[in-house]
């Protein structure tokens, strides 16, 4: 029988090191975590599998981590003391900046992990700035030094320049082979400060993640700042005042293990039986309900949806399934918001709010994969604040809510964007940003041939295909990150698309007035190709209010008949007509015009493709 050294709940803070890893997708964070699990012995060799900590299939397939976790690793330091290292995983993408910031808040130090063949990427840089703002200890590390394409000297110089150290201070590892990982763990012990807190004060623990589990309900990950949390005690969520009983408390190493509690500086999980992650929100402070703390930890905020899109089932009868699926996803995704929406063109669906584009994509993909739902989504849009002439102020997240009355001012959300690009592509990048109404702030050379450019950009201009465009204009080398940065006044108009005089709601769009014409020409042209000819002539128009800005004409159909219908043709012809009849049932009526659902789907899906052809 092994005697556990430093059991959780009683670990002296001076033996604890809490750290995380900041890295870009594919730079090897999960592989590094795998090696640490192995080297510290918490996972036996025979139980090891790749990307051990990434739970969801999508995470493993896309190589990104959506939900962070914390894992407790025992490690004997160079001074022969038994340390506890808590590796706190951070989400790796732009949309989850807030979650990243809370994960960072739970640590005293961070490993900055960069691919030695690729150098630092914009998001990593953005997260690094977050860590620096938090006064965290940064340990710069180059990974994948075993790759033939690795350029460790070049990127060590770049990292040293960014972090402000000597190139020789940059540790070189290969998470794949394990080279340098022991040294890295030793360095964590030496470099990362021990947590400080008051063990006698009322308990305060910060929630840095909250995950819904089918069997256990919500699993909440916390970092204890002051005091101690113990099993069966009543805890209180300081943002809402809600109290819960602690049914279970423990650590992950790397499987969950109940403990007698969690003390100052410790990291672990707790379970209260709540069923919805919104009752256990990231950033919130947990305290003892009998002896509560008076002051919550700073930094809690509600996740705010930034990007909106309508999601509609392609098969209208799937609508109840979509509702159930969204309800289930929300149990595990506090940032997802939705409300019912109905569209003439697309039927019944939900208007959903997301943290950003990736969040939207992940939700769509999970709806497809886990719930088997075929969906069409409208073009993503953002929220606007509109001042009306009568002094009223409204907020809208859907072009259909755009007021028809006189407007004094419209405010659109803007973001601070960071773009990293090889210097060869500065021209195309600036051109793209300018085309998207970007305002450049500054440009810094990170190294001889890489620059960092900072912009303020309207969010609406990047929700669409900005990232794809950026990638295609820089042969995939540029990287991009943004964070919300308030709002600005903009000259925006709503462009409606009319079929035979009737507006098609799914295609209405709020665009900058200088782009209204191009949008109108684009959409009318595309619909002309997609909508079958009717028995009468159909004008397809783009309009701002009552003013027509573009027009195409769908001429009346003159022929819809098969010339030959002899003995051998009859079965085939009948089947063809049966199919057409089925198709007719799926037609949506826009006024008198019959439009196949597929035409709407195609028009919305090709949005990004054809927009990229234009430029």
């Amino acid at each position: 029988m092994t005697i556990e050294i430093n059991p959780a709940g009683t670990t002296p803070p001076e033996l604890i090191r809490n750290f995380c890893v900041i890295a870009h997708i594919d730079h090897g964070k999960s592989t590094l975590a795998d090696r640490m699990l192995q080297i510290t012995g918490v996972v036996e060799e025979r139980n090891m599998r790749a990307q051990y900590l990434d739970r969801m299939d999508i995470e493993r397939e896309r190589g990104i981590t959506i939900k962070s976790q914390a894992v407790r690793l025992p490690w004997v330091g160079l001074d022969n003391k038994n340390y506890i290292l808590n590796l706190i995983d951070t989400p790796g993408h732009v949309d989850f900046t807030y979650e990243v910031s809370r994960s960072l808040e739970a640590c005293e130090g961070t490993i900055l992990l960069v691919d030695a063949a690729q150098g630092i990427e914009a998001q990593t840089l953005a997260n690094l700035y977050l860590a620096l703002e938090n006064d965290m200890k940064i340990i710069p590390v180059l990974n994948k030094i075993d790759l033939p394409a690795a350029q460790p000297d070049k990127y060590a110089a770049e990292l040293a320049n960014i972090v402000g150290c000597k190139p020789s201070d940059v540790l070189r590892v290969s998470a794949k082979t394990g080279e340098g990982v022991k040294e890295l763990l030793d360095l964590v012990v030496v470099e990362v400060p021990a947590p400080i807190g008051d063990p006698k004060a009322p308990a305060r623990a910060m929630i840095f993640d909250s995950v819904y589990d089918t069997y256990r309900g919500v699993v909440t990950y916390v970092r204890v700042i002051d005091g101690k949390l113990t099993p069966r005690e009543k805890i209180k969520m300081m943002s809402s005042g809600a109290t819960h009983e602690l049914l279970d408390i423990g650590v992950i190493s790397p499987e969950p293990k109940s403990t007698k509690g969690l003390g100052v500086g410790e990291v672990g999980y707790l379970i209260t039986g709540v069923k919805d992650v919104r009752q256990s929100r990231v950033g919130d402070t947990i305290t003892d309900s009998i002896k509560p703390a008076t002051q919550a930890l700073a930094g809690f905020r509600d996740p705010k949806p930034m990007v909106f899109a309508g999601l509609f089932p392609i098969d209208g009868s799937d609508y109840p399934l979509l509702r159930d699926a969204l309800d289930k996803l929300q149990l595990n995704d506090a940032a997802l918001v939705y409300e019912p929406e109905s569209s003439v063109a697309l039927g019944f669906g939900y208007r959903c709010g997301f943290l950003g584009l990736l969040h939207l994509e992940i939700v769509r993909e999970r709806l497809d994969r886990e719930f088997n739902l075929s969906l069409i989504s409208t073009a993503p849009s953002v929220g606007y604040r509109i001042l009306l002439e009568d002094g009223q102020e409204i907020s809208i997240t859907n072009p259909s809510e755009f007021p028809s009355g006189k407007i004094t001012e419209i405010y659109e959300p803007v973001v601070k964007a960071t773009i990293l690009t090889p210097s060869d592509y500065i021209g195309p990048v600036m051109e793209l940003a300018q085309d998207r109404r970007g305002q450049m702030h500054n440009m810094d050379y990170l190294s001889e041939d890489r620059v960092e450019i900072r912009y303020t950009l309207p969010l609406a201009e990047i929700v669409f295909d900005f990232f794809d465009q950026l990638k295609s204009k820089t042969r995939g080398y540029a990287s991009f990150d943004y964070e919300p940065s308030g709002e600005q006044v903009a000259e925006l108009v709503k462009v409606d698309i009319l079929l035979h005089g009737d507006p098609v709601d799914a295609f209405s769009s709020i665009v900058h007035k200088d782009k209204a014409y191009a949008y109108g020409v684009e959409m009318t042209g595309r619909l002309k190709e997609l909508i079958p000819r009717q028995q009468f002539e159909v004008p397809i128009q783009a309009a701002i209010g009552t003013r027509i800005i573009a027009r195409e004409t769908l001429r009346a159909i003159r022929k819809d008949v098969l010339a030959k219908c002899y003995g051998g043709d009859i079965s085939r012809k009948r089947k063809l007509l049966e199919k057409q009849k089925e198709g007719k049932k799926r037609m949506k009526m826009v006024g008198r015009v019959e439009v196949p659902q597929e035409a709407f789907v195609a028009a919305l899906q090709t949005n990004a493709d054809s927009a990229s052809k234009d430029k």
Partner: protein, 395 residues
Amino acid sequence: MAALPEGDPAPIDGELPNKSDLKSKPFSLYVHVPYCAKRCGYCDFNTYVPSELDKDDQIQSWLTSAIKELGLIKKVTKQDLVIDTIFFGGGTPSLLEPEVINEFLENVSRRYSLKPKIEITLEANPDTITQEKSDYWLASGVNRISIGMQSSTKNVLQTLDRTHNPENVFNSVKILKDSGFINYSLDLIYGTPGESLEDWDKTLNDALALEPPHISAYSLVIEPGTKMGAQLNRGEISNVSDDDAADKYSLAEQIFSSRKYEWYEISNWSRSEMQCQHNLNYWRGNNWWGIGPGAHSHINGVRWWNEKLPKNWREKLTRNQSPALAREILSERQIKDEKLMLLSRLRTGIKSKEVKSSARNSLIEQGLIFEESENIVLTLKGRFLADVVFRHLSE
């Protein structure tokens, strides 16, 4: 080649669920002769050129199997049928030696009764018509020839990959008339890529100069899997435009009606009483047996189709099995839909009372049909949009 429809398995012995009353309706024979000297660029019929067939399945072996299938009809129907019409289609039936046609027809009349003045049609390629053959056909009982003229414009024939010269059509008609044929038809195709309205006008006038009692005119359909389909995919030719086809149909209708030809089906016009009785049987939902590889049959709501490959067709018959590949037993709904689909294409139209009055009124309002005594009939606009009409009627 056009794919066969999917169907249910066909019974090995060709057994039919319903053989009653076969004498109360006309019963026709379709005879498929799937051989061609060369395949035309637009053709998606079940046809074979000699190089595609084994030596056992060349045109010379056709008769033996065809006669076996002829015998199967009696085995399956167990009735003394009166044959209403016979139609040799292809392929190129005129490639058969006239003695073969004669022997086949002799076999038919030996086993079955023939209706008095039975219509017997043979499709002929203008290149293959000789005086000798023509005389023989008439003597054997063939009394109607359908000539694949397609166009009188050289470049159009070239695009279609037709081997014949426009003059051959003129010569063929002369030969047929000299033999004593009264009934013959010209098949025309319009809408070929590169064909101008003037080209089509010339074709129409050249055809009418031959005084045919009957004309069929089809809008070209470029099917996937054909040579022209491949050319279309490669962008070498452009697809048939519906507007162009509509213009050309209008021109044909205008010229035909001015010359006293009346439409009796969407793509068929004739002088009085010279309609193709065989095709009318198809459209009226009558019964027929299709003999030959890939041939379709219909008896009392069962449609079946034969093995497409001559080899498979022959082998099944050699084993005394039905050569059917698959079949479908039509539901009441499908029977009704077919009736609407087929009868609506005819000048005689559909009985008004068989159609929902709401659909009828809406179609009349749209100018697609008109009422004539007890029937509804397609207007000219309705002939262009017959599939729209059908979808309305069958709702």
